[in-house]
């Protein structure tokens, strides 16, 4: 097990280095000028040139990458061109807001997805299966932003039950897990949970339907095991794949949904990315992408560690 863990950790190093390279260089491929984040649209050429020097944008790309990497390793992601605020603190504040949203959305999505998927898989071909499958297709296909807008119109504008936007009455800096704040969370979390719910329903349904027809399940039933005991065996067989899919989905949610966070003005990573993209705020964009990618790498590592615990065969392989 230790060897497995060491190998997985070792794999993450080149991945992390690759992530830094991609997140640094990719943003320069987009057309536009990073100095648009700071200079007025009609800034004359001399002002633009002076700014290029002031922000080190006149240096060759490899030099810029090297300097950025050295600082990034020390936790310094530079300062936003647009606001001058430290990128690291900007990103971490946004990550914590997205974490609030993503954790609730993921919990709802995974829970509902597993229940629906298991019910559908166990009752393959029945009306329950068809209903769950239909719901999962809707979940996967429905455009996020559209659903968000519809939910807002119904529950905020028409019924007036829930707030239409924002992350709490006093802003995200004063977030509390109380009823008043949860009201702000309900609509964006419900909107965001729909895709993982759909994907996990489909995955679990397929795995359960496949597993219940395997010989060992027939043998378990023949031995007279209760439905619950049989289900435990089925669930354990399905768990590694569900875990992998869940890890990916949580990773996506942590990346924040640009559209959902914009529709609900939720100050998370998606909202931050949106601002950075439209402002061509390159340091902010690079920092946000890097942190999100590292989250993804860490989540995958976590899944890799958890999988052999759930299914010891994977550790031996």
């Amino acid at each position: 097990m230790l060897g497995y863990l060491f190998k997985r950790l070792l794999y993450t190093l080149p991945i992390a280095l690759g992530v830094t390279l991609v997140s640094f260089t990719l943003v320069y491929l987009a057309p536009g000028d990073p100095l648009n984040a700071i200079a007025p649209a009609d800034a004359p050429a001399d002002v633009i040139e002076a700014l290029k020097v002031a922000y080190g944008l006149d240096r060759p790309m490899p030099v810029r990458y090297g300097l950025w990497l050295v600082r990034a390793v020390q936790g310094d992601l530079g300062a936003s061109i647009s606001t001058g605020r430290a990128v690291a603190s900007e990103v971490m504040a946004a990550v914590s807001n997205t974490l609030v949203l993503a954790s609730v959305a993921a919990a709802a999505g995974v829970l509902i997805g597993c229940v629906l998927g298991a019910l559908a898989g166990y009752n393959a071909g029945s009306w329950l299966d068809r209903l769950a499958s239909a719901l999962s297709v809707v979940g996967v296909s429905i455009p996020h932003y559209w659903l968000g807008l519809v939910l807002t119109i119904v529950f905020s504008v028409k019924l007036g039950w829930l707030p239409a936007m924002g992350a709490g009455p006093g802003g995200s800096g004063e977030w509390l897990w109380d009823g008043e704040h949860l009201r702000y969370l309900l609509l964006p979390a419900a909107t965001l949970s729909v895709i993982p719910m759909g994907i996990i329903t489909r995955t679990v349904r397929a795995l359960v339907a496949d597993t219940v027809n395997q010989e060992f399940v027939v043998a378990l039933r023949a031995r007279g095991l209760s439905r619950v005991a049989v289900f435990q065996h089925v669930a354990r067989n399905a768990a590694p794949t569900v875990l992998a899919v869940t890890g990916l989905q949580v990773g996506y949610l942590m990346g924040g949904s640009i559209l959902v966070e914009t529709v609900f003005a939720w100050p998370g990573t998606g909202f931050l990315l949106n601002t950075a993209i439209f402002q061509r705020d390159i340091p902010l964009l690079q920092g946000t992408i890097l942190v999100l990618c590292m989250f993804f790498v860490a989540l995958n590592l976590l899944v890799d560690i958890l999988q052999p615990l759930v299914d010891p065969r994977m550790g031996r392989a």
């Binding site: 000028d33 200079a39 007025p40 800034a43 922000y55 504040a93 007036g160 995200s172 003005a265 439209f278």
Partner: protein
């Protein structure tokens, strides 16, 4: 008898209650304002995010030396004294301007406003060797005060500024330059990041709270020096909501009390629910700016005039839910510099077709043009639907328009580079669609009309070069008689329209939607708005 006792009992109970209520401290009035930006503009002194940001963290927290009259909506505003009570050009040397500063003004931190503060602020943005120099603030304001060559303190309340050339329009540059407190910067360890959260100006509001991307609380400065501009609301909470539909939903839901630019299709719902829509003529124009470089199809004035006659502007206004005014030129007709151009911008398809035929274009031989546009963004209004409307309109007069659609930030790059640049001419781009601010003579007219500002030296994008106009613009710079100046500016505008320098489509009216709770708001005919006029 019973009823008398009952009434007496009620009076005895009601009297102390009424007394208690009348002695209750005045409840704070709060207006929550949903703004269309994704973040709160810079609070350190010179706001970023364009002219529209000055109303939020510019002219609220700070004051300029010369201000723009923004608390009037029935006519265009004018320059008015700000922190300078008087400004005069030296009759012997027209490059030298003397400013007499207002006495008795204090910054929010209690320090005095004086000539040292003005010089310190000029150094902050123009002198990169000064310790207080801030590249971000400098980048915002340096392009807006291009005439300043040098400056010095004469005495505690007099400052002298020398311009690079004789420039009679120089005072128009100064509403953009705002004065912050040197003492506050010192107190906060000379750290601009700290100043951003605790700024100190002399303005009618103080910043009480800043949560980046979420809210900024501006509280009334009861000790403001201009008693006529004391804020009518105790606290204004700015809430960035970049998505227009979300903004409208937040208003309908009661989370905010006033919003910028409601989406046109939500306006009927808003008005049906007694929300007020306020709009006014705004110095903005939505045009196609033509290239007049060799090889461009727009070098022929007949073609430029034809396109101006081929667009039904009133239909576009309808498309925008009435939130625009059909353009009659670069400026709105109410502008003092509109004049009487001989070319009337109207919808006249037969005349447009005749001009195209004269220019040699027919159905069999259509004119083909590539125009660069943005998919949306600040000042671009409903970019794609409007452009598609024009594309169809121009097809009616045998012009086949192909769009190069880019993001607004990328469009700026194409704009700054000029029509001649390889990124434009090299790709066959011969016109650009970009919403223009037309707030003052430089922004409205001279930067587009003078040959000395042909890109990349300025934003005369297409290379317009009319000797008569150039001569008039040179004269404007040297004319200190405002009546004569107005006459020359009028001439420039008339020439621009007569030469059909652009296809002018509509002027934005900068609409706001307000909850019935908001009783007062004066919308100025400018991008600078005065938030002190908002009252419950």
């Amino acid at each position: 008898m019973f009823s008398v006792i009952k009434r007496l009992r009620f009076s005895l109970l009601a009297a102390p209650l009424a007394l208690a209520l009348s002695s209750t401290p005045h409840a704070e009035t709060v207006v929550r304002y949903g703004i269309s930006m994704a973040d709160i503009p810079l609070t350190t002194g010179q706001p970023d995010r364009g002219a529209g940001a000055y109303q939020f963290t510019g002219h609220t927290i700070y004051d300029p030396l010369i201000a723009w009259e923004a608390n009037i909506g029935t006519r265009p505003g004018k320059l008015v004294p700000g922190l300078a009570t008087e400004w005069k050009v030296d009759p012997k040397d027209n490059k030298v301007w003397r400013f007499t500063l207002r006495k008795g003004v204090k910054f929010h931190d209690g320090s005095d406003f004086n000539a040292d503060a003005v010089v310190w602020n000029l150094d902050k943005v123009l002198n990169d060797k000064s310790p207080q120099f801030d590249a971000k603030q400098s980048a915002q304001v340096r392009p807006r005060i291009p005439s300043i060559a040098s400056f010095k303190k004469i005495d505690d309340y007099t400052v002298e500024v020398t311009t690079k050339n004789v420039d009679a329009l120089f005072p128009y540059q100064l509403p953009w330059f705002l004065i912050g407190s040197p003492a506050q910067w010192d107190k906060l360890g000379r750290d601009w990041a700290k100043v951003a959260t605790q700024p100190s100006g002399t303005g009618p509001f103080k910043l009480d709270k800043l949560v980046p991307r979420e809210r900024a609380d501006l509280v009334k400065n009861a000790a403001y020096w201009d008693k006529a501009r004391l804020a009518k609301t105790d606290r204004i909470v700015l809430v960035p909501i970049p998505d227009a539909v979300t903004r409208a939903n937040a208003l309908l839901n009661g989370q905010v009390d006033i919003i910028e630019t409601p989406p046109p299709d939500v306006i009927p719902q808003l008005t049906a629910q007694k929300f007020k829509i306020v709009q006014n003529v705004t110095p903005h124009v939505w045009p196609y700016h033509f290239s007049t470089q060799p090889g461009s199809p727009w070098t022929d004035i007949r073609v430029r005039k034809a396109v101006n006659l081929a667009v039904d502007r009133e239909a576009i206004v309808k498309l925008l839910g009435g939130q625009a005014v059909a353009a009659k030129g670069q400026l709105d007709k109410s502008s003092p510099w509109f004049g009487k151009p001989s070319f009337d911008l109207k919808y006249d398809l037969p005349a447009a077709r005749a001009l195209m035929a004269q220019a040699g274009f027919t159905k069999a031989n259509p004119l083909k043009a590539k125009i660069i546009i943005a998919q949306g963004g600040t000042g671009q209004m409903l970019s794609l639907p409007m452009n598609e409307f024009i594309q169809q309109s121009l097809a009616e007069i045998d012009i086949q328009v192909e769009f190069e659609v880019v993001e607004l930030e990328n469009l700026y790059l194409h704009w700054r580079s000029g029509a001649k640049a390889d990124m434009n001419a090299g790709k066959g781009i011969t016109a650009i669609n970009l919403g223009y601010v037309t707030a003052d003579p430089f922004y409205a007219l001279t930067r587009f009309a003078a040959a000395k500002y042909i890109a990349p030296n300025g934003v005369n994008w297409g290379g317009y070069d009319n000797p008569k106009v150039n001569e008039a613009i040179d004269k404007i710079g040297a004319t200190f008689d405002t009546k004569e100046q107005d006459k020359l500016l009028t001439f420039v505008h008339e020439q621009m329209v007569n030469d059909a320098l652009m296809l002018w489509v509509v002027h934005d009216t900068n609409p706001h939607a307000m909850s019935p709770k908001v009783k007062q708001f004066v919308q100025a005919q400018h991008w600078f708005q005065d938030l002190t006029t908002i009252g419950m």
